[in-house]
């Protein structure tokens, strides 16, 4: 259904311009006006979110945890930090654990899980080496190896994480740790936690009266290797970070994405992450949402986690890697089917809420697949076509005027993005010229093109594949850094 709608929107504009140009112009004006207001609204949300982030920047979350007066005690809380690993170089995992050992949270309450895949040759030796190196810094480091080709599973991050989480449950039981006192953070292998991540997470868990009905979402900042990536990859990932910042302002629409945390008790109640679907990060939220009859939400944490920008072996390989990664993200539209099926079996969730949630997924995925194609390609093509045809109708003249206005607004928003993105740029590593900062500025002018190529096209691709009944294999994004394994990137020293 999403693909049918997306293609219908795109083709309706194209056909309409041939059959009824006047109506096509009216439709495009409606569309542009919708985006005019939507972009203004989103830019204000971005400013608000940024303001909120800055206002909490200097908060001492650990102190707040210690002072928190709730039914749960800070001292009772445990953290499972689960890294899903598949073919990431040891240096990437070491960087993640190095950042973890620097967090301000008591290290004896942190249990690290290194969840490897049997499909990766030599994974056990790799993880054991890392375990030996870091064991002294944490309460424990567990290693799990997810067997390949288990029945009912696809090769995915969700299947690996679920396997590891089941093992952890046994471990917790064996150590007589109450699952209700345990928070689990499911991180990608390259995730470097902010120094106060676990304090902030714990504080919000403690003070939230509905702590078992909420997932905690940090702001994913893709900047670990920002100085070593092609400009388009940097731009699209910076865009993802800013988009998450905007989303964090819309509580009722906010859904878990990538690295996230939640109560282990809740996770066990919903039977962990889906093992046969690609978009495990968002589906775990919808699984909880269905399980608890709509009484589930995602809370935006005020501290970020830092991750890698997906890169390939060169410029074009990075383009390929980015495209595949974005297509995998866009496969999150499967949540529409998952939720729709789930709603059919659930009579407890009010119809209005069901409708809102389905519309929310549909709206976000259809806009994702269409907006930049329409604004970057279809509208300019229509204007060019009318100019070549010598169309003198006033509506085309005004369409051009409205289009220009939209682009002015767009430039203004890019300027806001540029200013806010400064917050997420780590110190320049040695050996990198200052001139790179110039590319950090002009990169924003590539937005229309990049957002179409690495935004709308992969989303449309994912939706179309789903419509045609094709399966998407889980694409594990290569985590590769330009520097040697033994060099710690400055970005993670935060």
């Amino acid at each position: 259904m999403p693909a049918a709608i997306s293609w219908s929107i795109i083709f309706s504009f194209v056909f309409l311009i041939g059959i009824a140009p006047l109506w096509a112009a009216i439709a495009l004006i409606v569309y542009l006006m919708y985006w005019f207001f939507r972009l203004l609204y989103m830019s204000l949300l971005l400013i608000l979110a940024h303001h909120r982030m800055l206002s909490k920047k200097n908060t001492n979350w650990l102190n707040l945890c210690k002072k928190a007066n709730t039914d749960k005690r800070f001292e009772d809380i445990w953290h499972i930090v689960l890294y899903t690993i598949y073919k990431e170089p040891p240096g990437v995992i070491r960087d993640s654990l190095s950042s973890l050992k620097k967090v301000d949270y008591p290290s004896d309450r942190l249990i690290v899980v290194l969840a490897g895949e049997e499909r990766e040759e030599g994974v056990l030796e790799k993880l054991k080496g890392i375990q030996k190196e870091f064991i002294e810094y944490f309460k424990d480091i567990l290693i799990t190896i997810h067997p390949k080709d288990l029945p009912g599973e696809i090769a995915s991050k969700g299947a690996n994480a679920t396997y590891a989480a089941r093992y952890v449950k046994d471990y917790l039981k064996k150590n007589k740790i109450d699952l209700g006192d345990v928070l689990i953070s499911c991180f990608d292998a390259d995730t470097c936690a902010h120094r106060q991540y676990f304090s902030c997470l714990t504080y919000h868990f403690l003070i939230n009266p509905k702590r078992y009905r909420v997932s905690f979402q940090p702001l994913p900042v893709y900047n670990n290797n920002i100085y070593y990536t092609p400009v388009f990859a940097r731009l699209i990932e910076m865009g993802s970070t800013l988009w998450q910042l905007i989303e964090s302002m819309r509580d009722e629409k906010f859904v878990t994405f990538s690295s996230h945390s939640m109560s282990f008790k809740t996770l066990a109640e919903v039977d962990y992450w889906p093992v046969d679907m690609v978009s495990d990060d968002s589906l775990i939220f919808w699984r909880c949402f269905l399980k608890f009859n709509g009484d589930y939400s995602t809370y935006s944490l005020d501290v970020p986690v830092y991750m890698d920008i997906a890169v390939g072996r060169g410029f074009f390989d990075t383009l390929r890697v980015q495209y595949k990664q974005k297509r995998r993200w866009a496969w999150g539209v499967e949540g529409f089917v998952y939720l729709g099926m789930g709603f059919l079996e659930n009579n407890q969730i009010p119809f209005r809420l069901k409708f809102r949630k389905l519309f929310q997924i549909l709206d976000s995925h259809i806009n994702w697949a269409t907006w930049s194609i329409i604004i970057s390609f279809i509208v300019p093509s229509v204007l060019l076509w009318t100019a070549l045809k010598g169309k003198d109708e006033l509506i085309f003249f005004n369409l051009s005027y409205i289009n220009r206005t939209i682009w002015h607004i767009f430039t203004f928003i890019l300027f806001i993005c540029l200013l806010i993105s400064k917050e997420f740029i780590p110190p320049r590593p040695k050996g990198r010229s200052r001139l790179i900062y110039l590319s950090f500025v002009w990169q924003w002018f590539l937005t229309p093109f990049v957002s179409a190529c690495l935004g709308s096209f992969p989303a449309l691709d994912a939706q179309t594949r789903m419509m045609l009944g094709k399966k998407l294999k889980f694409y594990p994004t290569p985590k590769k850094r330009e520097l040697a394994d033994n060099i710690v990137l400055p970005a993670i020293v935060k």
């Binding site: 004006i29 006006m33 939507r38 949300l45 003198d392 109708e393 006033l394 003249f397 369409l399």
Partner: protein
């Protein structure tokens, strides 16, 4: 408390933009179509737009003698259908006045080129006694060749003298009779009905002092001269003869008659880039002129293979 602030702010923004969208959208569509609300008549009126561009830009616009605040390029919106007098004024240019018809829901474009009022003449050389001058178009600019009593001058576009051939030993009558000038790779030729002269520029840069050479004296009136065969030859239409003259051999010993026209009113054009001779001629028994083409270079290759 803080969280509440952000939630409330977000809700205010959301509803503000939603209401703005719902309220403004129909108005914007109506406006885009060309409807305007007339507050005096309290009803919508159909309008059109006049878009005005001028070369150069920045001209003052008057619509029915009423000054428009914005200079060109500009758009005059919300114009009721009808015919309007539009005037463009810019200092140093003649006023441009035209009637523009405005139709409802349509754009009436006006694209004007303003003609300057010429007051000063830039003098190339005040004291030259010029008989004839020609302009040679170049990829890298223009050359102005001026034939004066005391010599032949070559000027660049900025009117600087870059070369001169002097003395030239040409009479006033000869100078006045020059018909045309043709440029080759490193040289140019000029001719009248009887003679052809050549001036060599030099291989790399133009020599300051040029030498005039008389290269051909015709028996019949010269009607056209072209460069050909990689600028090595001159293709000359002399009366009814078309001859090829090797200009590198200055004693006229290498000269060929390549075609003879059937009529004295026949014309030729030689395309140097393709070495093709285009001919307007009459072939017996036809009484009318037809066009013919001879690809001379192709003939060379064909004959070479024979």
């Amino acid at each position: 408390m803080e969280e509440e602030f952000y939630k409330i702010a977000r809700k205010i923004f959301f509803w503000f933009f939603l209401v703005a969208f719902v309220v403004l959208l129909p108005l914007i569509i109506f406006y885009s179509l060309g409807y305007q609300f007339n507050s005096n008549l309290k009803r919508f009126q159909k309008t059109g737009v006049i878009t005005i561009k001028s070369l150069p830009a920045g001209a003052q616009v008057y619509l029915e003698n009423k000054k428009i605040n914005q200079p060109t390029p500009c758009d005059i919106k919300e114009v009721l259908p009808g015919t309007y007098k539009v005037k463009l004024e810019k200092e140093g240019f003649y006023p441009y006045e035209v009637k523009v018809e405005v139709k409802s829901f349509m754009v009436s474009p006006l694209d004007a080129v303003l003609i300057p009022k010429i007051k000063d003449i830039e003098k190339i050389k005040a004291d030259l006694d010029i008989y004839k001058f020609f302009i040679i178009e170049h990829l890298f600019g223009k050359k102005i060749i001026a034939f004066a009593r005391d010599g032949i001058y070559v000027f660049n576009e900025d009117l600087d003298e870059i070369a001169k051939a002097s003395p030239i030993n040409l009479t006033e009558e000869t100078l006045a009779s020059i018909k045309d000038i043709k440029e080759g790779r490193n040289n140019f030729v000029f001719y009248n009905q009887k003679d052809i002269w050549l001036i060599d520029y030099g291989s790399w840069s133009i020599k300051k002092e040029l030498t005039l050479e008389h290269i051909y004296k015709a028996a019949e009136p010269i009607r056209g001269v072209f460069f050909g065969f990689k600028d090595r030859y001159l293709i000359i239409q002399e009366g009814t003869k078309i001859i090829a003259l090797d200009i590198n051999i200055r004693d006229n010993s290498v000269i060929f008659e390549i075609y003879r026209l059937n009529n004295k009113d026949s014309e030729v054009y030689y395309d140097n880039s393709s070495d093709t001779l285009f001919i307007k001629d009459k072939l017996e028994p036809s009484r009318t002129f037809s066009l013919f083409k001879i690809n001379v270079m192709k003939k060379i290759y064909e004959k070479g293979q024979d």
